[in-house]
């Protein structure tokens, strides 16, 4: 089916003139860089002006420069006929595949497209496929794409997307050059002036010019006498001055012609103007389809005869698409997998897309951040937590590098959670930091919810995106195999990426029950910093801070008194402070060391008053007998003061 390239048709034999210089340059460029220069290259010109010559020359030159290239020349008719034959034989796909391997495809005479929808479709598909693969396609036609009647707008814009060049009728000098070269090729020589006479005759195309030349050669051969300019004119029937094509009919003659010409001109203009909206819609479809969006809405516009507000519709469409893009981008940062959903490509279903984005947003917002209720400034430092404090400072100086992981160990109520959150807050202030800081229980619950909602990937992505992971009460992982598995993976990833990990636990890792060895050993691989019972300094600091929070002016005596009270944890101390403040408020007396002693050491403290003062804090009720250390031996609540009296040793 494929026509072989005519070896005579090369750039060397092509006479370049002003009328075709651009086309020849473009064709040469394409032959030197097939697929990358102008793709598609669309050359149009009147019949007989060298389209086929140029097309074949392009192929020949490309082959010459890169012999490995696969080059095919054929007319569009041939292509489509062969395609039909292949389809009829059930080989349609194989046929298309065959053309996918052609590096330079030269398609001649694409003007026969009018009203042949399937042929247009096939050409569109072919052009698109070739453009996508960076393979060259060169097309020729006898008119510009826009003038091929009933041509699919998409094709027009595809063609216009490459380079559309035309070749005009050669000028006189070019015609002389062509005649000389052709005469030379045929071994004929003419008297001076003969070829010039022929060239002056304004043949409408080169083919006719060649016909004239052939006639002269034949005449000269038959008569065996060199022909002169006059004789040449006679041979060619040029004695009467030839009316140049398109010369204006003299005024008064040819009634109606002018009007017909006028109508046809106006038709073209109207066609362009009235149908301009179609072009705009088609252009929009092309653009957004190219970006992978569904364009049913715009296609529906094309089916209408005269839609009311085309541009509004296009604008609305673009707005929707922009929104989809924004949603998709947002989702992509949260969950790359979800961003690929086709729902973000369909402007017909905006609410669904919004909903999908909202789902992702809910599921994969940033991980829980540290609580702002625990600022570092409020953490009372002292000898009892010095190790932990210095470890935290080291972590802040070099997150992820020095102590990773950092495990804060200590009994409940010693300030582990405070220190963890304070560290988290400080880490979060670093630029670009995403700090995940939460209790292990919360972590487990999230995972369960994620498994339930079938979105473990999102959940993982969320934590993987964090720059630091701080988990409180890691011992709660005991027996949670799946969470341990997830944490293990996360752990390794964080270590690899030098992202900080901080945990808190009541006991050193070795003593944690129910935690897999691989996790326990990793927990211990960084620094294990222990917080011990608050020393006097810490107690004083905490008491001072707590009182300041209650807006109580504390004198040194009160602070000393409180600091001297035995308290096995910060939490116990907090409860103590709460209690004396409550008592002072209830009695409407200023809080002094004396009042505190009175309250804490149980002198004349009425049960009822105590009850209203509400000293229940942190879930633990502190006995009025501050000296009692063993909780088991404490009586937690007294129903009646009288009951208590009975219990008291007399």
């Amino acid at each position: 089916m494929t026509t072989t390239l005519n070896p005579k048709f090369t750039f060397e034999t092509f006479v370049v003139g002003a009328s075709n210089r651009l086309a020849v340059t473009a064709a040469r460029t394409v032959s030197e860089n097939p697929g990358s220069a102008y793709n598609p290259l669309f050359i149009y010109s009147g019949s007989g002006l060298g389209k086929t010559h140029l097309l074949m020359a392009t192929g020949a030159q490309a082959k010459k420069l890169a012999p490995g290239l696969n080059i095919e020349y054929l007319t569009l008719d041939e292509y489509v006929e062969a395609f039909h034959a292949a389809v009829a034989a059930g080989q349609g796909d194989a046929f298309r595949r065959r053309f996918q391997n052609v590096d330079v495809l030269l398609v001649d005479d694409v003007q026969f497209l009018t009203g042949r929808a399937e042929m247009q479709a096939e050409l569109l598909r072919l052009t698109e496929a070739r453009q996508a693969e960076g393979r060259q396609i060169v097309l020729t036609c006898d008119r510009p794409p826009a003038e091929i009647a009933a041509l699919d707008e998409r094709l027009i814009s595809r063609f216009s997307g490459g380079l559309v060049v035309d070749m005009g009728v050669p000028d006189y000098e070019t015609r002389v050059a062509i005649l000389r070269r052709k005469a030379e090729e045929r071994g004929a020589s003419f008297q001076p002036g003969v070829l010039e006479t022929v060239a002056a005759a304004e043949f409408v195309n080169v083919r006719e010019l060649m016909g004239a030349l052939n006639r002269l050669i034949a005449y000269q051969a038959v008569n065996e006498t060199p022909i002169n300019a006059e004789a040449a004119k006679q041979v060619l029937g040029l004695t009467a001055a030839p009316a140049p094509a398109g010369a204006r009919a003299p005024a008064g003659g040819g009634s109606g012609d002018e009007f017909a010409q006028f109508v046809s001109d106006v038709t073209v203009t109207v066609g362009k103007a009235v149908e301009a909206w179609r072009a705009r819609v088609a252009e929009a479809i092309l653009r957004w389809e190219g970006e992978g969006y569904r364009t049913h809405r715009l296609e529906a516009l094309l089916e209408q005869d005269a839609p009311a507000a085309v541009d509004d519709a296009i604008t609305a469409f673009i707005t929707d698409v922009e929104r989809l893009k924004a949603l998709e981008a947002e989702v992509a940062t949260l969950d790359p997998q979800a961003a690929g959903q086709s729902i973000f490509r369909d402007p017909e279903h905006m609410p669904e897309a919004e909903a999908a984005a909202a789902r992702v947003r809910d599921g994969a917002g940033p991980p829980p951040a540290p609580s702002p209720a625990f600022p570092m400034a409020q953490f009372a430092a002292g000898a009892s937590n010095q190790v932990a404090m210095s470890a935290v400072e080291a972590v802040l100086a070099q997150p992820g590098k020095k102590y990773n992981p950092l495990l804060l160990v200590g009994r409940s109520g010693l300030g582990k959670t405070h220190l963890l959150n304070a560290l988290g807050l400080a880490l979060a202030q670093r630029p670009g930091a995403i700090v995940a800081c939460l209790s292990t229980q919360h972590f487990i619950d999230e995972l369960i919810a994620a498994i339930d909602g079938n979105r473990v990937d999102w959940w993982r992505a969320r934590y993987r995106g964090a720059t630091a992971l701080l988990l409180d009460d890691i011992h709660l992982l005991a027996g949670k195999e799946r969470t341990q598995e997830e944490l293990f993976n996360l752990f390794n990833r964080f270590l690899d990426e030098e992202k900080q990990l901080v945990f808190t636990a009541p006991t050193p890792p070795g003593a944690l029950a129910g935690i897999e060895d691989r996790i326990a050993s990793r927990l211990g691989s960084g620094l294990v910093a222990e917080l011990t019972e608050p020393d006097r300094e810490v107690r004083r600091g905490v008491a001072e801070r707590l009182l300041a929070q209650q807006q109580v002016r504390a004198d040194a005596a009160l602070l000393d008194y409180l600091a001297d009270r035995p308290a096995d944890s910060v939490r116990a101390l907090a409860a103590m402070v709460q209690r004396v403040v409550g008592a002072a408020t209830a009695q409407e007396r200023p809080l002094t060391a004396g009042l505190a002693r009175e309250e804490l050491e149980g002198q004349a403290a009425a049960g009822e008053r105590r009850r209203t003062s509400g000293f229940r804090t942190s879930g633990i009720v502190v006995s009025s007998a501050g000296g009692i250390r063993s909780r088991e031996k404490m009586v937690w609540d007294w129903p009646e003061p009288s009951d208590r009296v009975l219990e008291e040793p007399r």
Binding site: A251, G252, E258, F259, F262, V270, G271, A306, A308
Partner: protein
């Protein structure tokens, strides 16, 4: 100005030939009339005095048939050129989609040309139309007269065409340049269709 009626699928263009008295506006219309097949043209209404001066206006409807599914009609009007018919001119100018300014190429008519062009601008302004936004072409008529009597296109361009509008030398009596002028103004008018539909 209902240039394009999408519902009725009609395009109607009103083109007014404007210019000083005796510049050849009616002649333009007569030539067009003579070239339009009978089936395509309406009755040319011409209210002329015995001395061939337009008293009121000329009206020539042309049916261009179906173009892109639109029934396309052109309505060509001329105005009386004489200074004292300004009210009529203003009336005819109302709703014009495009104006052809027919200038008299005779050197001695230059002032009349300029005056008429200014009058056109003023009358358009009365209708709230900015001349700069209206499709307008210039025709330099009577170019067939002896060289010594007329100004060349270049001279007239210098004198009248300071906005670089399309301009055409013409000999309306013999039809030279008549359709070129009409084609140019039609294209300008029709190009506004595209903008019209964007609203």
């Amino acid at each position: 100005m209902s240039l394009v009626n999408f519902t009725a699928r009609e395009i109607t263009c009103k083109i007014v030939y404007y210019g000083p008295g005796r510049s050849g506006k009616t002649t333009n219309l007569h030539y067009v009339y003579s070239r339009v097949p009978e089936t395509r043209r309406g009755r040319m209404v011409s209210l002329a005095t015995q001395t061939d001066r337009t008293l009121f206006f000329d009206f020539l409807p042309i049916d261009l048939g179906q173009i892109s599914g639109f029934t396309t009609r052109f309505q060509l009007y001329t105005v009386p050129g004489q200074v004292y018919y300004n009210a009529t001119r203003r009336l005819v100018l109302q709703g014009a989609d495009g104006v052809v300014f027919v200038a008299d190429s005779q050197a001695r008519q230059l002032d009349e040309n300029i005056e008429s062009l200014q009058n056109l601008q003023a009358n358009l302004l009365d209708h709230g139309v900015d001349i700069r936004g209206l499709p307008l072409v210039l025709q330099y008529n009577k170019q067939d007269l002896p060289r010594e009597l007329i100004l060349t296109s270049t001279d007239l361009d210098d004198a009248l065409n300071f906005r670089s509008l399309p301009s055409f030398p013409a000999d309306a009596l013999h039809g030279v340049g008549v359709f070129e002028t009409l084609k140019s103004i039609s294209e300008q008018v029709l190009k506004r269709l595209a903008q019209g539909t964007t609203a």
